[in-house]
């Protein structure tokens, strides 16, 4: 049990916000976390930028490119967030691609997460099978939960397997798509939400990819335990800066 699990026990309609570390400025990480905490979000995802973020859409990709050219890297991120818990008690997740973690050393990476009191990881290019076979025991050792994605195309059998391996929540990808803001959800998406809900999975579900406004937030929350917002927040940071966070979050509720 860690902060993520507790959040799902204690709260409803969870709002989890993603941002890319090092964007817009290299040193913005802690300020953004503080703002998010103040604005009443339920969970925070820190994106560790990667040169080739192939599961991400143009917005997050661009923020990653800028973050990297700002000089962000794994060491710097861990250094920035070493006092994380002095500013927030929200569950904090690192979202990143596998290669930078491998280069850092998986065990080393987990150790650092633990030191910074990170609660979990989302690694889009680490398939559940490989996680299960090679990584789970290491992650456990450092009390890190790993979250998996499911999509409208994921088979029932596989969803059950993911549910079994999941220790915190399942990331329900809203549509066939890379990350990126959408305005509304179509019938197909809503049917998919309903189909998954009927499966009565043990892990809670957060809907991500394409949440951008009150409307998509509401529909997603009605059909799950909450939402994850990424691109829309990055767009907000880009156009209005960190100070606009509170207003952005309020606009979603």
């Amino acid at each position: 049990m860690n902060r993520i699990n507790e959040t799902f026990i204690n709260k409803k309609n969870i709002l989890s916000i993603y941002f890319t570390a090092g964007f817009p400025k290299l040193q913005d990480t802690m300020s953004i976390i503080k703002e998010l905490d103040k604005s009443g979000v339920d969970m925070i995802e820190i994106g560790l930028p990667f040169s080739d973020p192939l599961a991400d859409g143009p917005t997050i990709q661009e923020s990653s490119t800028i973050a990297l050219s700002n000089g962000m890297n794994t060491n710097i991120l861990f250094d920035q967030i070493k006092d994380l818990r002095s500013i927030t008690e929200l569950p904090v997740i690192i979202m990143g691609y596998l290669n930078p973690m491998i280069q850092f050393g998986i065990e080393e990476f987990c150790l650092k997460c633990k030191e910074c009191q990170i609660d979990g990881l989302i690694i889009p290019d680490l398939p559940v099978d490989i996680y299960h076979d090679q990584y789970q025991s290491i992650f456990k050792k450092y009390n890190l939960h790993n979250m998996f994605l499911i999509t409208p195309q994921t088979s029932e059998e596989r969803i059950r397997f993911i549910d079994e391996v999941s220790e915190a929540f399942i990331y329900m990808v809203s549509s066939f798509s890379t990350t990126g803001a959408q305005k509304i959800f179509g019938d197909e998406t809503i049917n998919y939400f309903k189909r998954i809900n009927k499966m009565n999975l043990k892990a809670p579900l957060l809907v991500g990819f394409g949440i951008s406004n009150q409307e998509t937030c509401r529909v997603a929350s009605d059909n799950s335990d909450g939402v994850i917002i990424g691109s829309a927040y990055i767009n907000c940071l880009k156009s209005s800066g960190i100070k606009a966070t509170k207003k952005f979050i309020e606009g979603l509720r």
Binding site: N73, N99, Q103, Q153, F176, T178
Partner: protein, 394 residues
């Protein structure tokens, strides 16, 4: 004996696998479940072989390069993939994959391309089958490789610029993968080399293995021997090399040489010699050797040849390197360009600059008079004329 071929889980030794986002899982799984079944069916084989023969122009000759052999006092054969329809080995693979895509009921094809050869080969088979085709190509490469862009358009393909990152092959690949994520049901992604998640490296190697298989038959006919002493090929992603090496992977009498692009030199920071400069990591869904920063960010390689500047190599090749089954030699721009001219003027064959790299091994290594050396002449140089012209001030 340990095999150098793929294992049942999609690995070559420690390399390979399918490190893909869940969004791609159904697509890749569908392929993994079907590629062997379909491609070994009689009807597929018939159709594949018929197109290779009547459309691609196979078998490509195994040409004894008389003047070159005399000059280097050894027996040099060229496997003439430059004579394939569209001008390189790439089409062997696209023919295989388009047939597979058809059997899987796909209605839309996407592909990435760097130099444009794979894009042209893909656009070609899509025109042949009347299937919609979208090619992702880095914005920078679109400018560098105008003739191939024009060819793709003539063939009815849509060429979409990749504007992210360094705007070259790696980024075009990212864009293609994103497209596939967004269109998982009706679309097949034709990867152009032995890279990407399993089953791509194995699938592409199998479609290309006709190169090596023909070589065996042809050597038998010409030299009354079924195996050469050396097989030599350039390695970008590694598909032409994989195709030539395939039947010899576990036959240690046949020495394997992989030729990488050293660019301006290994130590200049402008190079594409992955085996020397790379470390194990994950790129485009595969665990393999790749060029990256200490931090794990994938770095942009450099080579004068657009087909060799991929930051990784296929997992088969990573394993050939690691196990020392293959010898890896890297060749600079300067030497490759020199060999483009040498081959042109000694044998009347203008090679692709990728291909030129392979031949430069003749200056790096001594061969015995009776050695039978098979070079994969992977493509013709027409696409590179501008580069040759400018370089040599022709």
């Amino acid at each position: 004996m340990k095999t150098h071929n793929v294992d049942s889980k999609g690995f070559y030794g420690e390399f390979g696998g399918a490190f893909i986002p869940e969004m791609l899982y159904p697509n890749v799984e569908e392929l993994r479940n079907n590629y062997l079944k379909i491609s070994s069916s009689k009807s597929f084989k018939n159709e594949f072989n018929k197109l290779l023969k009547d459309y691609v122009g196979r078998p490509t000759p195994l040409y004894f390069a008389k003047r070159l052999s005399e000059k280097y006092n050894t027996k040099i054969y060229l496997k003439r993939e430059d004579l394939c329809h569209t001008g390189a080995h790439k089409i062997n693979n696209t023919i295989g994959q388009i047939l597979l895509a058809k059997k899987l009921g796909k209605k839309r094809i996407i592909a990435e391309t760097g130099a444009g050869q794979h894009g042209v080969a893909t656009a070609t088979v899509c025109a042949l089958m009347g299937i919609k085709c979208i090619i992702y190509m880095g914005e920078v490469d679109i400018k560098r490789q105008a003739p191939n862009v024009a060819r793709m358009k003539m063939l009815g393909a849509e060429v979409r610029p990749a504007t992210s990152g360094s705007k070259t092959l790696k980024d075009a690949t990212n864009e293609a993968i994103r497209d596939w994520i967004n269109n998982p049901v009706n679309t097949h992604y034709i990867i152009g080399s032995v890279v990407g998640p399993h089953p791509y490296p194995d699938m592409v190697a199998r479609f290309q293995s006709v190169i090596g298989e023909e070589t065996i038959n042809q050597l038998q006919e010409i030299e009354n021997k079924s195996k050469p002493d050396y097989v030599i090929a350039c390695v970008g992603g590694g598909s032409n090399a994989a195709g030539l090496f395939y039947p010899f992977l576990d036959n240690f009498d046949v020495k394997i040489i992989c030729v990488e692009a050293a660019g301006k030199g290994i130590d200049t920071g402008e190079s594409a010699a992955t085996s020397i400069l790379g470390k194990t990591g994950i790129i485009h869904g595969s665990k393999t050797l790749l060029m990256q920063s200490n931090d794990g960010q994938i770095t942009e390689p450099y080579s004068i040849s657009a087909g060799l500047d991929y930051p990784g190599i296929g997992p088969m090749h990573a394993n050939l390197f690691k196990s020392k089954r293959g010898e890896f030699i890297s060749i600079t721009d300067i030497d490759a360009m020199k060999w483009g001219l040498i081959l042109s003027q000694t044998e009347g064959i203008i090679p692709a600059i990728e291909t030129s790299h392979a031949f430069a091994v003749l200056d790096k290594k001594k061969f015995k008079p009776n050695d039978i050396i098979v070079f994969n002449c992977s493509g013709r140089g027409d696409k590179d004329l501008d580069t040759y012209i400018e370089y040599f001030k022709l």
